[in-house]
Subunit: 261 residues, 2 copies
């Protein structure tokens, strides 16, 4: 494992929206509590929805424990492969909060208490409460930009294409709102959902033919089990509105030729 | 990427419970629909709880799209690092169900229609409904064991230390119940949760000292935000009951010395 691979491209805070090309992202959830089941993750679904809505393709999610080597390895694997990497969790003041140090090591950057964050602390706590533990939360890698936190004050940060965010969902969501306007976004993936009624086995062949004929769309088929029987939702996804409408009609026409469910 | 790394150890279906050593697992969730946000994952929390309850440490989770290279890469990375790998999703009959083929490629094994699964199909469908698409669901890598599916009939499968399960939660859960008795399990990790009341910044230093003094426990600190203020839950985890009780008492005694929240 190399410690400092380069990101796939430099994405700076003033990137403007290009609207045409494909922008990708990964999410790294950091925390023993998610892996033990004690805490149920609420951030994956939020980030997935948010990315889709602004035209970023979330391509991979990893959940790793509070272990430095695992975090470094995942940060380096994901930041070099996707346009952006978001991390959640592990930026508090306690001994198990090692995300900032791990990200600094992943980039080979020094890390120290950031005077900008100390200033924010001073507006929130009396001096005697700015303990060494709280100052841990002010440590960010050299050169990092801060990510505003309107919910609880202490910021996340950004190093190159990596955004380091809180794990508490309300705080993470506020940080995401703060950083989103600075993201480069691609052409939005549009989708239509069709309830096919029948089980997947009945529609699989004609649906596969439609997918084959339209490589510029992604047709997903999602079985569900309800009232003792299987049925399927078909989701057609495309970046072009007209293509989406045409392929959706084709799926509906195909379903109309099948015996009623 | 090598195509056929060896698993860290051979785990066969008749492994008996050892009760002492540490058994690890990873979960690989396969599906575009989770990454797009259209479907919210319900399997991660279930597998995390289940593993914890039977003494297996879930150490990593990945979510990847329905893309063969991504699936193969994740399967090989995870099966070689942990005792077990569970996958969910992508074993239906449609064109986007490529998990079985990807797992076969990851192991370098041939894959074909399995007569045992065709027999199960024949008990469920009339012959004319055993379509080529449905037969896709009968394809498993050579030498795979089947994982019983009491919910909807068609089985998952196991190759070495990799269990390939359905994505629909009720079906996946049934399969997990079926395979769990065959797993080797370690000594269960026990835990105690203490509501510390105060924000993390207040308890971080004394809590860090307690963690340092007890390297055989894992002390987690989980902030939450409620009614406009931060508080913290402390979770002490240990495999030994007496150690757990002693460290929990130490945390409670420490909290009692702090000013009231």
């Amino acid at each position: 494992m190399s410690d400092q691979p380069a990101p796939p491209e430099t994405a700076s805070a003033d990137d403007h929206q290009s609207g045409n090309d494909i922008v990708t992202a990964a999410l790294l959830v950091i925390g023993d509590e998610i892996l033990s089941g004690r805490t149920k993750d609420k951030n994956i679904g939020f980030v997935a929805d948010y990315c889709t809505s602004i035209g970023i393709d979330l391509k991979e999610v990893r959940i790793v424990p509070d272990e430095e080597e695992r975090i470094i390895e995942a940060v380096n694997a994901l930041r070099t492969r996707y346009t952006y990497l978001f991390t959640t969790g592990g930026i508090g003041p306690t001994h198990d909060d090692i995300t900032a140090d791990s990200v600094a090591r992943a980039f080979g950057l020094p890390i120290d208490v950031d005077p900008r964050i100390v200033e924010i602390m001073k507006t929130r706590y009396p001096d005697r409460d700015i303990t060494p533990a709280r100052l841990r939360m002010a440590r960010v890698p050299e050169g990092a930009d801060l990510v505003d936190n309107k919910v609880s004050g202490l910021p996340g940060f950004r190093v190159q294409n990596v955004f380091v965010l809180a794990g508490v969902p309300s705080v993470m969501q506020g940080m995401f709102d703060a950083l989103a306007p600075g993201l480069r976004t691609g052409r939005r993936m549009l989708s239509e959902t069709i309830d096919a009624g029948r089980p997947e086995g009945v529609i699989a062949e004609p649906l596969g033919s439609i997918q084959k004929a339209h490589p510029d769309t992604v047709i997903g088929s999602y079985p569900y089990f309800e009232d003792g029987r299987f049925a399927t939702r078909v989701v057609v996804r495309a970046r072009d509105k007209a293509v989406l409408a045409a392929v959706t009609s084709e799926v509906e026409a195909m379903l109309a030729t099948l015996p009623r469910p």
